[in-house]
Symmetry: none
Subunit: 204 residues, 4 copies
């Protein structure tokens, strides 16, 4: 009871360090090959510490995904909030998307997550909820901010397109690991831009 504040801080720091370490190791080695031992060591903690903060390896993985997903969505919302017009919003959206090529980690983590979830119906459920939750926060208003009020039909088309953005990005980033020259960051930006424009024909 001496310094609960410090304790809490320590606890939070451990959590954060573990999550960072987990991201590093999961992405580097893949979920199955990632060793809790190594995650703990990378975080400067011991194996046991992981279990004080997470129920299991799977739990750590899911919490990590939830964190990172939330962070990205929040970033997007933040950048959208600053926009004054629909055009501006739309441009910000596009820029945000194309800018994602700068991150070699997150898209791989996402692939890893999805392949993981694909094989575990139980986790798949939690996985989707996490994603929905993050997305849902401001979904409708965001959509309107970007596209205005449009027919349900068009809206569903937009949803479909939006759904495609992530996977396309992930696939390309993965490929770029094998063809770093032909798929340079610049090249990827151009490709992503073209694809974005194909999926979201600029509102008149």
């Amino acid at each position: 009871m001496e310094s609960p504040g410090k304790q809490q801080i320590r606890t939070q720091e451990t959590q954060a360090r573990l999550l960072d370490a987990a991201e590093t190791v999961f992405v580097r080695d893949g979920y199955e090959n990632a060793q809790l031992d190594e995650i703990a060591a990378t975080a400067g903690r011991s194996k046991g510490a992981v279990y004080n903060h997470f129920k299991s390896k799977e739990d750590l993985f899911l919490v990590l995904y939830e964190h990172r997903t939330r962070a990205y969505v929040e970033r997007l919302f933040l950048s959208l909030q600053k926009c004054k017009s629909r055009q501006e919003s739309f441009a910000a959206f596009r820029a945000f998307y194309v800018g994602l090529v700068g991150d070699r980690i997150w898209p791989i983590l996402t692939l890893e997550f999805k392949l993981f979830a694909l094989r575990r119906p139980e986790s798949k459920e939690r996985f989707r909820k996490a994603f929905e939750m993050a997305k849902a926060t401001n979904y409708d208003s965001t959509h309107e901010q970007l596209f205005g009020q449009i027919t349900p039909d068009k809206k569903s088309g937009n949803e479909m397109s939006a759904l495609a953005l992530g996977p396309v990005l992930s696939g390309l980033i993965l490929e770029s690991h094998f063809e770093p020259e032909k798929l340079s960051e610049e090249a990827l930006q151009r490709i992503l831009g073209r694809i974005f424009d194909a999926l979201f024909p600029a509102p008149r």
Copy 2:
């Protein structure tokens, strides 16, 4: 001279069965979770038989990838050979690509392979070679058949675009497993078509 024939046939059949079983199990469970036991059983063979045909689990995985890759490339070349004009060829190419959405297996297998290769530099080498070999077979003539003689600059752009096709497909197929309704086969075809057209603006 009857026996060698029978032996050979048996051997080939076993190989083929093992590869088919491997594809099923690897895609269903992922590389790490796939059990040799189950692959063997699925093939109607015993665990040991796998090791008469493949050096290791990894080897089986790589050989499987090589086989399937080669098969796809050959299918594409075959369909191109029938074409009489550049337009026809190009249309065939597009159709081939868009038609790939019908296969839920191969794109997932490819993702699995690439994430696998990403973590094993040695296999990465072999992996790329297999792909190159298959691609190389008729590459230049194919390119000319599709695009005619164009500036090296444009050619390199086409290469980049070609490189993007597979990853985009894989990413989308994976996502469709989570959103089977929003990303129906039909929807995927439309998206893929649009992306294809964005990457390869139709020649004139």
Copy 3:
């Protein structure tokens, strides 16, 4: 500061138990047929515990050999330290050697080790180092204590003879397992004594 003590004690006890169990099982079954499972069980521990203390079966085997070798060499040095004269020392040396027939375990273990090392050049290296280290500790002074200052020529002869002692013992102990009556402990003592005297003609 109670816990680190308890932990350490537990750790040491486990190590010691595992080494004892390993000795029992390796000698009884031979290196290849010895099962880690059984060693662990004999030690009252689980299979996994072995791997917390030793890198591999091979490592366990080598560490065991190092331990036991060291212990024997130390015993010899200890008994030599008590001696007052060269004659006494020499007699103690002889007695020590002849007394080794009482141990049916150690000579067999040594054979097992050497045949093992013969087939693994890497271990052979470590194996020799362990032996050298143990031997080296007091080698020169011991030699002088036993034989006085003698010509290098004679010294090298003594070295050769010393080298022969162990193998001769091991060979005989092994044989005595097949001819327990003809090669009783008493008989072995007589034979060993005679051989010792032939190899080290008593210093006047």
Copy 4:
């Protein structure tokens, strides 16, 4: 039925080749690590052939040991037969023994055999029988040829000494693999000679 002679020759040759190959591989790798596959390959035959000639790996091992043992005993008897006097016989016996250091294979094989037999009471039986048989052939007359008619007491002493010869040789040869310089063939001959003389004080 065309050429039974040729068939038989082929059969015998295969047997001999398999035994030679077995000796090579068993000595090089040890019984447990020796692979039937490799033995067969070394013999220029296939794995299956081994089973046409031997019941099992163990059987092959035992037959090999029996063969080699018999051969050595026969060689000794042969060289003794030529001797005219007891002195000559005795010298021949000594020379035969000391000469054994030239063979780096057989003593190791013997060790391997004995450690093997030690752990398999069933084989131990067969093992001893093989040895006895070989030895027995001419045992009593040989003994008399070497030592004349002596008291049963002395005879039993000689038996004991004779029993020691093999193990001593094996132990030393094994050690010489680790100390090839200090235990050169020449050095071994000197040591063996001294030990022989200590075990068999020259008759009068």
